[in-house]
């Protein structure tokens, strides 16, 4: 049974979301405080054995939290090497906030007030997407100088190891699957971000820039991950 960690300090929302997730067959754990969430998600290396607590498949994370805000929690998680999928929930629904959340390393973002069916679909989607991006064991691809391991969300370039977030892995996987072809921005938004293709956001561009930093010799003159002006992106053949 997939396990969801719900980090939400508003009691009513936490109880309501929990009720619905449990009906959909998830195991739900709730935390109402930012610092405790970090303890659970990014424990210090010398801390108590994390084995004691069961593995989490998805984190539903509020932004405004006592102790530590949601953006910082995701950042700390990623720094600590925890790449569990994160969906952020917040009352701040401005486009900058969405990008900010995604930049911090979240995998999905839902503004409050949300539609219940949308929330449930996104939760299901994120858990399923993870399976898709993970592919079959040993699913790797060579991209320029790097080797991407989709099973472990890792990118290896020489001795350097880069951990990818779910979204980065999915974006890369989409480009690898269509190597040599142009993938439109709309398609990326729809398939990777689960957003309406018309959404005005620089999120895709920001993610491409991040991937370039990992893949290219010189991120400013990309040779592998090319921009096709006004259309989208293409991963070159060689």
């Amino acid at each position: 049974m997939p396990r969801v960690l719900l980090v939400e300090d508003e009691e009513h929302l936490a109880a309501g979301i929990r009720f619905n997730l449990e009906l959909d067959g998830y195991e739900v754990e709730t935390i109402a405080d930012g610092l405790r969430a970090v303890e659970r998600l990014a424990p210090p290396p010398d801390g108590a054995a994390p084995e004691a607590s069961p593995a989490i498949d998805l984190v539903v994370l509020d932004v405004m939290l006592p102790g530590l805000d949601g953006f910082q929690i995701v950042e700390r998680m990623r720094q600590a090497g925890n790449y569990t999928a994160v969906m952020m929930l917040t009352a701040k629904g401005l486009p900058e906030d969405v990008v900010e959340g995604l930049e911090a390393g979240a995998d999905d973002y839902l503004p409050k007030p949300f539609d219940l069916p949308v929330l449930l679909a996104r939760v299901k989607g994120l858990i399923r997407r993870r399976e898709w991006a993970r592919g079959t064991a040993g699913d790797t691809a060579k991209v320029g100088p790097a080797v991407v391991d989709f099973a472990n969300f890792e990118l290896r370039k020489g001795d350097a190891l880069v951990r990818l977030t779910l979204l980065e892995a999915m974006l890369l996987k989409l480009l690898v699957e269509r190597r040599g072809q142009v993938v439109t921005k709309a398609e990326i938004l729809e398939k990777v971000w689960n957003l309406n293709p018309d959404t005005e956001t620089r999120a895709v561009d920001n993610f491409v820039m991040r991937l370039r930093r990992h893949l290219e010799e010189d991120a400013r003159t990309p040779r592998l991950l090319q921009t096709v002006r006004g259309v989208g992106y293409r991963l070159s053949d060689d």
Partner: protein, 326 residues
């Protein structure tokens, strides 16, 4: 530092302007000193100094000082502006949160009831939750409206009212609103204490203080509500809690509009930063004063409203039997 959350990143450029201002002041001071040394009448002999030169030196120094004073003023104004801006953006953040959270909750429960088969006992619980959300929404709306309505201007039409009874009613309302035990608020004071003022405004003020006391209490929820009149013809209302208190450095600012302790993204208590601002506006409108004291974090705080215009007790008014004992 990680203390500066992501959200404040956009505000940082304003601090650069401040740095420019401070830099300019330093340059101006340095120039003044250098000029003073260079242009100072030579110390060779007092005889050699022409009066015109002394005059020029005097006015030059004065102009330089004026320049520096102007720069300091501008930097101070800028600093104030930056602070206000920050508070305003915090306020927008807080109000957005305060309005959207109950709406999100209401929507969630409504849709749950609509799409799911909810057992009757959970259903009753959901309705209770939804009612509380509506209360919260209503309280936020009232707060925003009150902040616009109550200004420091004197109350237009002060009428005699019973402050003691008003305080007790506010206490009862607070108990019901927060579903607290009767013992949570302890009232101390006369049965009746008459002052002139705007009853609704004063009730809002006392309610806000009590609300804060509940909000900022921890496990021990005990609030002392005292009302008394003194020989100088002043009436006092004191609300004291045993909650989280605050450090002294915050005390001067808490009555400022939009002021909230801590960054909004790490908010630990609900609120918009308007409650105490409203209290102060109401009290000032009555030509009274409000004081706050907190021995420090985790040691509670106490707020005291002082109102002038204590009226003679009028036992026959309001037909309140309790007035007789006062």
């Amino acid at each position: 530092m990680s203390q500066d959350s992501q959200l404040s990143r956009s505000r940082r450029p304003k601090w650069h302007y401040l740095a420019v201002g401070v830099g300019l002041i330093v340059v101006a001071v340095a120039l003044t000193v250098a000029w003073g040394i260079l242009a100072a009448p030579e110390s060779a002999g007092p005889r050699a100094v022409a009066p015109a030169r002394v005059l020029a030196y005097f006015f030059g120094s004065l102009l330089f000082l004026l320049l520096i004073a102007g720069l300091v003023l501008i930097v101070l104004l800028l600093l104030r502006e930056v602070r206000l801006n920050e508070r305003q953006s915090n306020f927008v953040s807080a109000v957005t949160h305060e309005l959207k959270t109950p709406v999100a909750s209401l929507k969630l429960y409504l849709e749950t009831l609509e799409y799911r088969d909810v057992p009757p006992e959970r259903r009753a619980e959901f309705y209770r939750t939804m009612r509380q959300d509506i209360e919260r929404l209503n309280a936020t709306i009232n707060n925003v409206l009150n902040a616009a309505m109550y200004t420091d201007r004197p109350v237009a039409d002060p009428r005699p009212l019973d402050l003691a009874r008003l305080a007790r009613r506010a206490a009862e309302l607070t108990l019901t609103r927060h579903q607290l035990a009767k013992t949570a608020i302890r009232y101390q004071g006369p049965d009746s204490l008459r002052v002139a003022g705007d009853a609704q405004a004063l009730e809002t003020a006392v309610l806000n203080l009590l609300d804060n006391a509940v909000k900022y209490s921890r496990d021990t929820l005990l609030i002392e509500l005292e009302v008394w009149g003194d020989a100088d013809g002043q009436a006092h209302v004191r609300v004291r809690d045993h909650g989280i208190g605050m450090s002294r450095s915050h005390l001067p600012f808490i009555f400022t509009r939009f002021y909230r302790i801590g960054a909004e993204v790490r908010r630990s208590r609900t609120g918009t930063g308007l409650g105490l601002f409203i209290v102060r506006a109401v009290v000032k409108g009555h030509r009274g004063s409000i004081t706050v004291d907190s021995p420090g974090p985790d040691r509670g705080s106490s707020f005291t409203i002082t109102l002038p215009g204590l009226l003679e007790p009028e036992p026959e008014s309001d037909g309140a039997p309790e007035a007789a004992r006062a």
